[in-house]
Amino acid sequence: MEDREQVPGPILGVEGIVKRFPGVLALDGVDFSLARGEIHALVGENGAGKSTLIHVLGGILQPDAGRIALDGAPARFESPRHAADLGISIVFQELTLAPNLSVAENVFFNRQPTLGLGIVDRRALYGRTEDALRSFGLEIDPRLPAKRLSVAMQQMVEILKALARGPRVLVLDEPTASLGAAETELLFEKIRTLRVSGCSVIYVSHHLSEIFRLADRVTVLRDGRRVDTLRACDSDEAKLASLMVGREVRDIYGARTTEIGEEVLRVEDVHKGKKVRGASFSVRAGEILGLAGLVGAGRTETGRAIFGADPLDSGRLVVRGKAVRVRSPAEAIRHRIAYMTEDRKEQGLFLKMTLRENCVAASLDCFRNALGMLQEKVISTHAETMCALFDIATPSVRQQVRNLSGGNQQKVLLTMWIGTQPLVLIVDEPTRGVDIGAKSEIYQLLRQSAARGIGIVLISSDLTEVLGMCDRILVMREGRIAGEFARGDATEEKIIACAAGVAPEAAA
């Protein structure tokens, strides 16, 4: 069928795996095989069954039917611990570090080197962790509590932790979701060296471009079934995307439909702490302005400072020609600046509340009558209109938001901020963790918003997204704008070079 025969003796093979949840057939007879030293990518839309398959391989879920073979012998992974003992390490998208323990204690969680009698050998613990960190090119103090690290660094520690168990099979679930370009590069290098040492890797990702730089083979899942397994070199992004979605996927970014108007926001020499050190730029009505840069370059901090979430130390904001002071999100909203956070679940949505309540969360003032009472019917109508307009799939506007898919949640978050009728909308990583179908819808919604005259600032680490969406691209480095590119002459290479500060002449 495919080239399984060419790769002798798979380390891990599954056949006919079935997993049912109440009302859902999550896996419907999936076959999958992983060769020794292979990097095997697993792709599919949200709900395609990737996570379920990983959970089965990690012993977290037990399959309802099907066979698993490890190293040619039938195997059963009874618990996560059992799977780990058999040499399968999984790094999940959600961070699992103990925030108050040191980096070293996290990396060697439950397997700290001891001096005998169960006493932890601290010197060995810190020394070995330091070596491991250095092999990743990370300059982190192993004594630092994990919570003091950035999300990207925590993700790297998470991967080190999985590697510390010396796995035969390493499963990475969206490892680059919170990493910047530089960290991603480091990670890829590490994965390639792992392959040489005979470790096999299952790599789950939404980023199709990554897959072609890394994987030997790709398995595409859709609706709990395996659609195909291909050699990466025989395929391309468009082909994978259409296999995932089940139809042709053309330009997901769309094109600008209206003219760019007047300047709506000018940011002058904004400072905030150590992260934002004199950022200046302006955005015009209907424009989509990209803000690219490495993780830690100060993009999110700039967005939050402009929005008043972390009020700026110094600098000036000019909205439609008038200087404004913004010391809190409430003031920013009043001046018609909106900021859509990168952290949808922690800081964006009210997961336990209903869709309609989320929809109006940032614009409650618009929905009260003279007595200060909320007009429930108006709110419901508004939410229903937004659902129709934004094509949000939900049984009712009284559905709790946590029951919606990631893509629909992101759209709800967008309705929350569009509802404030902003002049400027700062969106921070708007497509992180959403599948390609929802991504293309979010791009359309951003286009529509721009067409209605909103100036959009798109903060994104996904360079293809920035290049596909933006009319103008700013690159941030060390809290300042390091370069500006017009749509036509921006390339990934130029942006990366500018972000890393290696080729200052690339900056226009």
Binding site: P22, Q347, L349, F350, A361, A362, G372, L374
Partner: protein
Amino acid sequence: MGEGDRAMATSAAVSRAEGSKADRKARERSVVRAVLDSHEALLAVIIVVVGVVLTCTSRDFCAWPNLHAILLGMSAESIVAIGMTMLLVSGGFDLSVGSTMALTGVVTAMMLKTGAPVAVCVPIGLGVGAAVGLINGLVVAHVRINPFITTLGTMGIARGLVYVLNGDKTITGLGQSFTAIGQGSLTVDLCFVRFSVQYPIIAALILVVIFDLLLRRSKFFRQTYYIGGNEKAAFLCGIPVNRMKVFMFALTGLLAAVAGVITLARFGSTSVSMGVGLELKVITAVVIGGASLSGGAGTILGAFLGSLLMAIIADALTLLGVNPYWNNVVIGGALLTAVLIDTLNKRRKGQL
């Protein structure tokens, strides 16, 4: 092809017929589900069932004097529960309410003894309660010490001050014009039936109705649900999180003071043990009423029904001649049952 089409058409028809049958069943079930989903409705049903059973087993239960005693007994508690509900909804809570109540009582009594008019003493007493609440709020919101520790501290301080100020004497003789607040009553004529209702009950009912409406409907109070649902997101949505927290704690202190003044007036004398254990009783009632310690849920009507259920149970034990020591056991059981039902309900919904 043709056969396949026909088969498909038939199966579609069958499934449509099944669908309409299922629809009807679903509608019948939806009434049950609505009751299960609405905490208040479920509680009301339970209270009615318990009431009917008690009416059948004890002749005294349904008599107005007994019902009046139940309502009077829970009046202070249900006023405190208003503030506690709002705090729980916004993700906080307050252990100091019982002590605040007692402190208010002692301060008001001492003021009255100086001969100052009631119209001066009562506002001062209420001010003391609001001040304790304000301190709680400022410490929780701005110093960012968690509500448990903060209010555990003020609970101790307020109770301590009660002992210091009151000593081991009992302050009595507060004057008729003051005790009328708690002892006076309103006689209601309702189609040939005349009965009188003591003021504390009326005060509690009015406050419960007003604040229930406000918490349900007003933009200002609705913001507490957002804060309790996700504080960081609420902040980014422009909701003044800290100001709201301070206000909610101050309001809770004020309501505890109202309860303190009413209780003092009702009994006509101070007591150093006024409101001891009240905080846990109120939190129990609020949780039985549908609030969650993790915030974002709960209503004042629910909390009132929770208090009512607890008061009825206590009353029933007395009427049935059960040793009153069993009271706590039953209340604890009721709390766990309420939380259990809630959890099972959520789990059921989560699986849908």
